[in-house]
Structure formats: C-alpha cells, structure tokens
Symmetry: D3
Subunit: 238 residues, 6 copies
C-alpha cells in the first residue's frame, strides 16, 4: 500500500494557464513533484510534404532541463545527438495531439508543441500530453478570437496516465521511485469518451497477460476520469 494515496489514486495536479508571455498557449503543469512547461506556438508554414494542400500540421518536441533529474542531464547539443528516449516521447506527444485536432481546419500552419521538463518525478510523458492539451486549447481559443482560425479544430479532449505493477500490486500514476521498480509499465492516452488514442505497455521486469492488461486499463480509466474532472476547473480560467 502507498503511504499517502490509494493505489488507484492520482497525484495532485495543478495547471497554471498562460504561464508564459510569448507563446500562443502555455501552461506550467505540476503533477506531484513533476513539473513541465508546455507551450503551443502557431507558425504560418507547413513542412514540405504538406505545402499547397491547404492543410496544417502539429509537431512536438520534448526535452529535459539539466537540473530536472537527480544526476545532471547532459544537454543533447553537448552530447552531439538527440536523446533516444526524448525522441520517442516527442513522437508520442505529436501523434496523440494530432488525433484530437482536425488539421484541415487550421490552414497551412504548423502548431508547435514544446514540452520542457523542469523537474522529473515519474510520469513526465503523461504530464506533457495532458498539459499540452490545455496549452493547445488556449492557443486555439486565441486563434479563434483573432480570426486566424475560422472554426474550432479541436475534436476531443485528451489526457494521459501511467499504470503499472510494482511488487505484485497494480498502481495508477507511478512516481519515479515506483516507476524504477515497476515490473510492468503502461502509458494510456484517452479522449473524453474514454476511447483509446494510444497505449504503450512494456513488461520491463515481467510479462503480463491479456487479463492483467484489462485490469490496468480499468485503473487508467479511473485516473483519466479524475483528470477530466480537473479540466472542468482549469477550463474556467482560459
């Protein structure tokens, strides 16, 4: 049993909308001890493969500040190459946010989603996805107000949560210590109809059966329900 919360209870989340002055949309998401700055910036051009198609794109980058981890994280540019894990998470964030937006409705524009982890205590990718949705929401609202977008391109809300098995027990929303000891680790992204957008599960120390997978998904759904409840509060301030 966890000391400070139930096994299927998520940590406290606080989202500060409009955290920064320059981006179209921005938030600071604090999720337990994990803190991520998520920004959405709209650029008036698209990648080469979309030019002239009257369609937009959404691209995402995820990175961790040197001071975000217990041991200093060396910058990618100092190592001379992009961190493989960061690259994988960047692609995940991009895919999941593209699923909640109709790119035909934003014209030939690219929405850049940047997630910069300033403090990491487990769940940085789920916090990034969740925070980015709100940053995107703010940017879209602004673009609708100033006439850049003619109609709302957002199709659904998006939130993400991790679930896993630690010492034989199923836990929702793993912190860093739990994550390090997890035998199974599953990240789940859902929309507000609780349909799956993305699921990534790894048996890091153990395998898992289809029955266990279904148990994990139940926990994930409960966690995501709580996030969407919190969204109702946050959305009043944007």
């Amino acid at each position: 049993m966890r000391e400070d919360r139930q096994n299927d209870e998520i940590r406290q989340i606080r989202i500060t909308p409009n955290y920064l002055g320059h981006p179209d949309g921005s938030v600071l998401i604090e999720w337990g001890e994990t803190k991520v700055i998520c920004t959405a910036m709209i650029e008036n051009k698209v990648p080469a493969f979309l030019r002239g198609k009257n369609k937009g794109w959404l691209s995402s980058e995820y990175s961790m500040l040197p001071g975000s981890t217990p041991t200093r994280k060396v910058r990618d540019i100092s190592r001379g190459k992009l961190d493989g894990r960061s690259s994988e998470i960047s692609r995940l964030i991009g895919r999941t946010l593209r699923s909640c937006i109709d790119l035909d409705k934003i014209g030939e524009r690219t929405i850049w989603i940047d997630c910069d982890v300033i403090s990491a205590d487990g769940g940085t990718r789920t916090a990034s996805i969740t925070g980015s949705y709100i940053a995107l929401k703010i940017a879209v609202k602004k673009a609708l107000e100033n006439g850049k977008f003619k109609e709302d391109p957002i199709i659904s809300k998006v939130a993400a949560i991790s679930v896993g098995k630690v010492g034989g027990i199923n836990l929702v929303d793993l912190d860093f210590r739990e994550d390090s000891n997890a035998d199974v680790d599953l990240n789940v992204v859902m929309n507000d109809k609780f349909e799956l957008i993305e699921i990534q599960g790894t048996g890091e120390g153990d395998t898992f059966s289809v029955e266990e997978l279904n148990e994990f998904l139940k926990g994930a759904k409960r966690g995501i329900e709580d996030i969407f409840k919190y969204f109702e509060i946050v959305e009043k301030y944007i």
Copy 2:
C-alpha cells in the same frame, strides 16, 4: 476482404539462418515483401553504468537502407541526425529482446542486435524483433558451444505481429498499403506462453475502445501462434 489471404492470416515468412559469415548469429528474414538482415554480435565489454557488476547488456540498432523504400531514404549521416522513427524502433527491439534473456548469465558482455531493413513492405519492426530472436538464439548456441556462456541465458521465445483496423475491418499482419490506410495500428510482442512483453497501439485515424483492443489482441495471438509454429521448423537448422 483481402485478395490473397484471410484477414487473420499472416504473410509467408522465411528465415535464412547463418546468413552472414562474420556475426555470432545472423538471419535474413523475408516476411512477404519485407526483408530484414538481423545480426547478433557479442562484445566483451559493457556500457559504463554496468562495469564491475558481473552483468551483461543487450543493445539494439535499427536502420533502413536507402533502397528499401519507394522513395530513396536519405542516410542518417547525410541528414546529420538519427531518424526519430528508427531511434524509437531501436529502443523497442532492445527492450523486447532484453525481456527474453537473463543478463546475469552472460558475464560482462554486450550483445549487439542490428536490424537493417533491405526492403520494406510493412511490418519491418515486427520482422526485426522476430528475426532478431533467431539471430540471438544462434549467437547464444555458439557461445554455449565455445564456452563463452556457461548456461543458457534465454528465458523464453519472442515474436511480434502487427494488427489493425483498415476500412472498418480488423486485419492481422498489415502490409505497407494496408498500414498506410489503417485507422488503428497495434504492434504486439509476446513470448511463447502468449504473455505480453510489449504492446503499442495508436489510433492514427480513429480511436478504439477497450473491447476492440481485446479483439485486436485475439488476432495478434493467432498470428504469433503461427510464427512459433514456423520457429519449430527453423530451429532445426540452427
């Protein structure tokens, strides 16, 4: 309905063991029109974080030859950076193969798994995982014979398959054309007890319910059963 196979039928697989002369283990895996060279090479050193711990490591790299795709794929070194998708698949292959081997039994050694796609027609990541398992098996057999390994480190067999929803129909083992049109795409890695090692599902054009996920997993299990049957034949030749 597919023209040339059932919706839950996998394409024909042919694995040529000992395809190359130098690596400890190597195969050419031909999976429909997809062809991947998988090699396993044992190096007598470990990454810095494992030194002095009397434990081994398994690392993997995936890449595509320029001529493997319809449009020439520019080499990573010419673009000056590692392809994000290749990086993500490299990490996936490494994780799944590490789950089937006891790294405490190989001493301070690194097993390098390299998957080089020479022709791509969908399913290159699942072919890579499946072929790499056989390459690993060959390398381990050789290491046991020459006394480099004292006991067999392999814990279980591993195979992978893709499943997806195309035009509203569930398909097992998508080729490139199907994959390009898939609304949902799921990659599943299982061991020979049909436990899950890794699951990655994306709603690229659509979302999917938990019920659908369970349907996909049934199709995946059927496909993986066929692969393990084929393994029984291949293993006679290694």
Copy 3:
C-alpha cells in the same frame, strides 16, 4: 522618459530559492517579464586538465526554451549546432562566477551552473548571472552542511546589470523593446565592493566616448546596489 519607472531604476526582481527538487541549488529568477531557471549541481569529478591537482572547476551552460521568445526559438539539437550567442553567454556566466569562488576549496569537483531562459524580455544574461549566484550560494550552503566542503569557498557576492543609450537617453536595465533600439549596450558585472568583474560594451548603432562609459558605469553601480539590497532579503530564505 520611461512610463513605469525611472531611467536609472531597475525592474522588479523576485528570486524563488530552492525552486526545484533535485539540484543542490536552484532558483527561479523573475526580472520584469524575464524568467530564468538557474541551477547549481556539484559533480564529483573535474575536466581532464585539472585531474590530480586537488582543485575544482565551475562550468556554465545557458540556453533558451523554444517558447521563451516571440518567434519560436529552434532548439540547438534541431539546428545541429550550438547557438553562437548562447555559447558566448555561457562562457560569460562561467567566467564571472569563477571569479567569486575559490576553486582550491572545493576539492576535485565541478560545479555545473545551468541557466535556462523560460521567458525573455531583455537582460537574460544579467538575470542569469544574478540568479546563478544565489543558486551557487544555496548549493555551497548545502555542501558545507553535509561536509562535502570543509570551508566556505565563496569570496564575494556577484550581480550583473545592463545599461545603455536609447534615443540619446541613458537607461539602466533595458527591457527587450529598449534593447532592440539601443545604440549602445553595456553589461556590467560587479562584486559587493562594487569592483568590476566583467564589462562588455558594444556600440551597436553608435559609438561612445570614455566620458559616456563612465556615466554608464555610474548607472550600473546604482542598479547593482539595488540588487545587493534585495539579496539581503533573499538570503534570509536560503
């Protein structure tokens, strides 16, 4: 005349000590609309040129988040090379902080100073130096408490300010709009005896005489006096 402050008045500064959980020392420095996260992390090794000399080192890196500027700032790793301006500022921060610490008193250790600008509105380099001094102070305090350092290596306090000439008028602490229109731009770093540690002045749109330089330095000194007064408050909380 400025609308909201005197020509020789600095913007409001707020330093949040211990802003992050992992680094030995950390602050969020908010300086008008400019916000920088400064961290100090102590590593138990030194660069090659210092090994075996029983001496430490202090190294610094400065970077800007993509969302910190009006137009999205492309990440260094995406451009494939370190931004020249960032490199120049990194070296400046390192030099000025090394001047305030006795590296013979920290053993064979490297203190890493990281300054990540999360919002830029002029004066990011002076905010970085000023914030880093407090982050360093916190890290040193902790190292003295846990016995890592035997005696306090800090020699003096350090703070930095910009001064410049905009439209013929001398201004202290330029914001972004002022900085963009400055004919002369001077960055001054001083210790708490108001001795110069570093001075960098550029006639971007105009040249300046030695007499004018002395006027600028008077303004800089007044600004730095105010910063040191604020330090007295901040230091109570560290």
Copy 4:
C-alpha cells in the same frame, strides 16, 4: 601459391538482378565471401550547381553494415561522422560510373547509386563498382521502357578488380586475408575496351617500380576479361 585458385584467377561472382522491389535497378553481388547490395534510383531533380542546364547527375554512397566485418562496425551516425574510407570509396564509385554514362541524355535527374556491404571479405569497392554497373544498366533499361529516357545514355560497360603483391607474389582479386598482408595494393577500373577509367595503387608495405605496375595491369586486365564474360550471362536476365 593459393590453395583454391590460381594467382591470376578471380573468385566466383554471382549477381542476382532485381534483388529488391523498390529501386529502379538493384542487384545482390556475391564475390567470394563478399556480398554487396547495389541499387540505382532515379530522382527527378539535380544538385543546385546543375539546375536549369538540362543535364543530369550521378551520385554514389557506400557504407558497411555493422555485421559485415569481423568486429562490429559502429554506424557513422553513432560516431557522429562519416567514415573517411567510406567517403573515399563513395567518391570513387561515383566518378567511375559517371564515366560510363552520358549525363546529357538523362534530363534534369539524379541517379543515386547506393552500395551497402552486407559481408566483407576483401574487394568490397571493386564488387561495388561492378555490381553498380549492372544495377545502373537495369535502371536505364526500365527508364527507356517507360519513356523517362529517350535514348540509351550508357557509353560503355565498367568493371573493377584489385591486384596486389603479397609475400613477393602478384595476385589478382585479393581476399581479406591477402589484402591485410599486401605490400602493394592496386585497384583498377576499366571499360569494355580495356581502357583505364581509374587506377589507384598504394605501396602499403613496399614501393613498386613502373615495370611492376605494368605487370599488375596485365593481371587486372585478365581479371576484368573474366568479369565481362560473366556480364554476358547476367545481361540475359535483365
């Protein structure tokens, strides 16, 4: 004396035309234990220096797979820079194939020749040139059939062979063991009139006289005669 072949005898060569599905032309060339995949792909654009000149270009890249050598060959992108030897061979392949094609007859197109060594046992550069010629021939045939090219741009056939001095004896077509012990190593590229296209000779462990050079060239000519004889067979299948 060699055990299994005469000193002026080349190893057995097998060329599999149309080895891959996607490229315009492709072969697998097996030359003793050396195996190289050669592809020719036609791109509808030219480098900047040729734009608007109604002329084409031919560019080549050579690389070795990690499992092609006894010790795993680290990928260029992991080392962060192009291998010098690979770069040199890439340029050689490009130069020699450009000599056998009339670039004025292909329009504003680039023919990309890619040679990927999957197993190396000496003579990889000569196998690459020889195999690439057939890949190019196939690509040209296809372009003539589909009307992309109006007239045949191929001027002559091309083949390459290595000759050298090992332990005082002149050998034709050195394998890896011989090459490692060679005092003189010469690579010769000729057309089907047995005119020289390129010659590269190095006294790695010894120097050589002009008389010896002429002896080497006689051996090279005999080897290339055998290759052109084999071409007559291969060309029936393309």
Copy 5:
C-alpha cells in the same frame, strides 16, 4: 618592466596587403609573433532575414590552424562542434566591423570576413579586427572600382588593442606569456575619432575599479594611436 619594449608600447605590426589571389581583399597581419590571414569576400546574397530589403550584411568567422598553438589545436570538425572561444571572437569581429560600414550602401550582398590564425602569441582577436579592417578596405576599393558599389560604405577606421594588469603593472598589447599571467584583461576597439566601438574586460584573477578601468583605457588609446599611424603607411599600398 618588459625587457624589449615599454609597458605602453605595442609590438611591431606588419600588414601585407593583397596577400592572397582569390579574395576581394586580403592581408597577412604579423603582430609580434602573432600571424593572422584576414580575408574579405563579397557574396551576391544576404541572409534570409534581410532578403528584399535592399540592404547588405557583414559576417565573420575566426579560427585557429592546428599548428598555431604550442599544443596542436584539434580542428572543430574533428571535435564535432564549434569551439566556444572561436564562436565568441567571430561574433566580436562581425559586430565591430559592422559598426564601421554603412550596410545600406552595399546592396543585397554579404561581406564575409575570415580570420585564420596561423601563429598565436597573444592578441589574436585584436590582430584579427585590425587586419580585417584593411582587408575590408581593399575589398571596398575594388568594389568601387568595378562598379559593384556606387559609393564608399566605410564610415570610419577601426583598430583594436588589448591592455591588462600583470603582476600589478599595467601593460599595453599583451603577448601570450603576459596574457596567461594577467589578472585583468581588457580588449578595446576604437574608431579613428577614438570613440569606443566595443570594450570587453574581464577580471580573470582579480577585480578592477572604475579608476583602473580609466587607466587601462588611456593605455588602449595610446596603442590605437600608434596603429592608426601605421595605417597611414599601409594605406599607400592598397
């Protein structure tokens, strides 16, 4: 006291105009034992941010040859990244030369200033700025003669000098041995009205007061006076 010159005396400078055949302007500047090749080359295009504005740009790069320093300087491309110090000096040279030229008078062109240090004995950045001014002057003269420029864009002459405090004594124009032992090091760039263009001062081993700064500036002015006197001789030969 210095052995071979007064404390406020600069080393002998020799500038060879038109040192190279290809660039529009070029000099070899020998300054004591420091030798730098400075070139100015005019390119008929501007960076993206200036396109269509009927305005030019001046860009600069500084680098050191491997044999220019006592210990061989590894090339940037071998280390895989631009040297931080070189980057900082490149930016300094560019800024100071832009201050002496009216970029509105050169059309949409970029003037490239390259400074390559072939032998370093202190003062390489001041020699680079000083030599580049003459290279620029030559290039401008040529552009005026061949009609590329309609009117002379040069606003003022530029020269640079270092001053510093070594062992408590103020010195003008430090050589390498002096520079290595300097407690304070100041680089000063002035125009021919002795107005300041750039000033960069660092207390490397000590701090310095505003009074001392003024003393340094007096020394700098005397040194720059001597350089401008020498310019009168050099300008006869260009």
Copy 6:
C-alpha cells in the same frame, strides 16, 4: 603549348622552412600560385589500436581556408560535416608519408601532419605531400637533436606531382585552369629511387590506355626529379 613553361616543366616552387614558431616542423610551400602551410607536430601518445606496442603513428589532416578558392569555401564545421574531397586527400597524405618513415623508431608517439591550403591554383595535394615531407624532416631533425628520437626514422624522401591530358596534350604539373579542363588526371607519389608510393589516375572526361599511362609516368618522373633537385637546396636551410 603553354605560354609560360614547357609542357613537361613544373611551376616554380619555393619552400620556406620553419615558417611558424610553435610546431616541431613547419613550412610554407609556394608552388606557382598555390600556397600551403604544412606542419608536423609530435604528440606523446598513439591511437588506441597501437597502445602498448612500442610503435608510433603518423596521421594527417588537409583543409582549405575559406579564402583559398575563387568562391568562398564554406568551413566544414559550418556545413556540419567533413568535406569528402578533404577527407580523401587527408588519407592520401597520411598513407604516403607513413611509407617514408619507420614507425618502430619513434616510440609511442603520433606525428601529426597538417596541410592547410591558403591559396589554391591546382596541385594542392601534391604540394601538400611535398611540403609535408620537408616539415617532417625538420621535426625529425629536432627530435634527434633533443633526444626524443634515438635514430633517424626516415627511410626515403617523398615528392608528388600531377600529370594529365588536356586538349589531347600531355602536361606535367597542372594549374587550376588546366586541371578543370583535363580529360585525364594522374597524381603520382615517388621516393628518391623513383619507385612508386602511390598512383591515382582518373579518366574524368576520357579513358586512357596502358601505353598512355606509361607516358604520363615518364612525365611524372621528370617533374619529381626537378623537385628532388630543389630539395637539395632547401635541405641546406633546415
């Protein structure tokens, strides 16, 4: 016919020994309008593959300054990758100079040969090899004098020349204009017994017969005889 020299006559060569202060050996070689700085620096360590074998190594790097060519040559570090041609020439210089030195006689040391072209008018690689031999000779002499080397490791002299066919005429020592128009281009490196160390011939616009190759080699020998005659003069000054 050439205007200013015979077809088999080399351009005037001037070698300035001890051109730079820091390297063990250095020259400026002026060869017609081509100018190259060649340096030899002895480092007390060897590459990893030679450690503990009581043997030395010789490594070479070749590069061109931005101002050495008619159009400014962009630096490798700005393009982010090593120039292919520079890489090829670096390897050539290294190979040919290793052939003239007994690496068993220099202990565990690396001799670095750096060739930096400051002005290019054809023949930069042959000038680099020729100049580097003298720089090496000077460095060896110094190492023998100060006891770093116990016996002279130099086996033979080395010089290089280009020959080619331009407009149907055989020419020795091609300048840039001739080289650009050459149908055949051959670089020849010989020792002072006129034995071949390296030969590289390319039919860029034409092929060439073995008979023609022999004619080229006669011209090369004549050119190299003249260089060795000039070496007798130069060697008096080192």
